[in-house]
């Protein structure tokens, strides 16, 4: 349903995306992960037809997202990272307008969303705060029966209860055979809700794979305690890569079998050896290095 081929958009001050290719089929949810300014929002803007690409193509239902935007949008639900809502409008009046303006409104979904996300509908938007407006934006998107849903940083700013509720709605929507694209800075949010993950760094696609496969790319981490600091330093000099030494202790990350590590350690006096798989957040950080904010 969503397809990008070599999609590029450059800005004068830097940023944007370069040569991005990805696709999302019906019943799939793609989580686009990346740090701030990685190009996630640019991708969303291109898919929503807010701007035209400098190169490549962005298509939904096989139609160009910029040129045929108005034809696509009836079946696209969208929530911005920070929805802009008229300050004097009440939540209720804004949602009623959105329902009439966009179409495809499902009152049953709207009722459940307002209950689960605890959305204040009577207050004016100006008094709702950033999170309140964000929840209104999410509700406007999710209360429709659109076939494609694009959510820009939907979890950011929500509390854990609201995150859980939103995750349920996203999974439910996916179960209805709808295609979803969700951007996030947090891997765990994507793991909870998506079937696919794409990691973007500095506008380029670093990784794209099923969420389950992400666990396989995780490295194993070993905490080794040597007899003294000299031994730890000697080991670090011998091991060379992916090793961090603090006093008599060393931290080693290895992608595969620990066989070589065990052979190497045989030459040293080891007091303790604790191993385990790095957690998903560490795995994500490894892809992004110092870019993560």
């Amino acid at each position: 349903m969503i397809r990008c081929e070599g999609l590029s958009k450059f800005y004068e001050g830097g940023g944007g995306i370069a040569g991005l290719s990805l696709q999302v089929k019906a019943g799939e949810a793609l989580g686009v992960l990346g740090p701030t300014d990685a190009g996630k929002s640019t991708l969303v803007r291109l898919l929503m037809g807010f701007c035209r690409p400098d190169a490549g193509s962005a298509q939904i239902f096989g139609k160009d997202c910029f040129g045929k935007r108005h034809e696509i949008q009836r079946e696209v639900a969208y929530a911005a990272a920070s929805p802009a809502i008229e300050s004097r409008a009440t939540g209720d009046s804004w949602l009623r307008f959105q329902a009439r303006y966009h179409g495809g409104y499902n009152p049953e979904k709207a009722r459940r969303l307002s209950e689960r996300l605890d959305i204040g509908l009577t207050g004016r938007a100006i008094s709702l705060g950033e999170t309140g407006r964000k929840k209104l934006g999410l509700m406007a998107a999710l209360m429709t029966d659109a076939q494609v849903t694009i959510l820009d940083e939907p979890f950011y700013g929500l509390d854990s209860m609201e995150k859980n509720a939103l995750s349920d709605f996203i999974r439910e929507r996916r179960g209805e055979g709808k295609a979803m694209l969700i951007t996030s800075r947090v891997l765990e949010e994507v793991q909870r809700t998506c079937t696919q993950v794409a990691i973007i760094r500095q506008g380029r696609l670093v990784l794209s794979q099923p969420v389950e496969a992400l666990a396989l790319t995780r490295q194993k981490v070993y905490h080794i305690t040597f007899k003294d600091a000299a031994q730890a330093a000697a080991f670090a000099a011998e091991w060379e890569t992916a090793v961090e030494v603090i006093g008599s202790r060393a931290l080693v990350a290895i992608p595969a079998s620990p066989q070589v590590l065990i052979q190497t350690l045989a030459k040293y006096t080891v007091f303790d050896l604790v191993g385990g798989r790095e957690d998903s957040e560490e795995s994500f950080l490894r892809f992004h290095g110092d870019d993560v904010v």
Partner: protein, 261 residues
């Protein structure tokens, strides 16, 4: 036009429209008050003291109430009000939402970009209509309060409508500027320049020694106030303001359709 968008934006504008209608009503009322004998003598005295200034503002005596209105209202005050309001409204409806993301929210719906801009343009037209009607009602109230109800109301109505229709191209230009400008500040500057240009060309064209064709470079050249007092057919000339405004707003819609947000 997109009815749901028009109605939603109209609701957001109600307070502004109410304030503008009240101010316009009071302007109409005050203009009639200036036609009372005491005020007329002061006005004549003032126009003799500063003839350059009164000529610049379009005051050409008070032979009768409609002619008086031409001088005190339609010469400068209302044209300035129409142009300035068109600019602030275009900024509010188009330029500011482009900057803060509300227009992006509008685009996340099955509507073409052009009709979105044209819908907002109709709100500019509606505001101009409300101002002119409120001015007329103020004049009517003034006539009943100060002049015992004796006046050519149809002439006053023709003049109000004529000026309103003539001012519409200013609204079209402002919508175009707001839709095509890269940001709110640049739209504000460009809009201010257009306001200055319109008034800067209109006012000197009335002065001796200045070419009268300067005034014809502004949309207010479509307004033939003196002739409208007796001749309804002159409204047709003013009515040209609407298609001209639509063409100008259409340029805005075209520019908006091609731009990045």
């Amino acid at each position: 036009m997109i009815p749901s968008l028009f109605m939603f934006e109209l609701k957001q504008l109600l307070r502004r429209l109410f304030v503008l209608a009240m101010v316009s009503f009071l302007l109409g009322l005050a203009a009639v008050w200036l036609y009372t004998p005491d005020m007329l003598s002061k006005l004549r005295l003032w126009s003799e003291e500063v003839p350059f200034f009164t000529r610049l503002l379009g005051y050409a005596g008070s032979a009768n109430l409609p002619v008086h209105m031409m001088g005190v209202l339609y010469g400068f005050l209302l044209p300035a009000m129409f142009v300035a309001n068109a600019q602030t409204l275009a900024l509010r409806l188009v330029a500011r939402p482009i900057g803060d993301g509300r227009i992006a929210q509008r685009l996340a719906a099955p509507h073409r970009r052009g009709p979105i801009i044209l819908t907002l343009f109709w709100l500019v037209v509606l505001e101009a209509l409300i101002i002119s009607l409120a001015v007329f009602l103020g004049q009517v109230a003034g006539v009943f309060i100060f002049l015992g109800g004796q006046a050519d109301f149809l002439a006053l109505l023709r003049m109000s409508m004529g000026l309103m229709l003539s001012s519409l191209p200013a609204g079209g230009v402002m919508v175009w500027v707001a839709a095509a400008s890269p940001g709110r500040i640049s739209a504000m500057r460009m809009g201010g320049l257009v306001v200055g240009l319109f008034l800067g060309l209109l006012l000197p064209s009335r002065l001796a020694g200045w070419p009268r064709w300067l005034g014809s470079l502004t949309p207010f050249s479509l307004f033939k106030g003196q002739e409208l007092i007796a001749d309804t057919s002159k409204l047709l000339l003013s009515a040209l303001g609407l298609p001209i405004a639509l063409i100008l707003a259409g340029f805005g819609a075209w520019a908006f359709s091609r731009r990045d947000l």
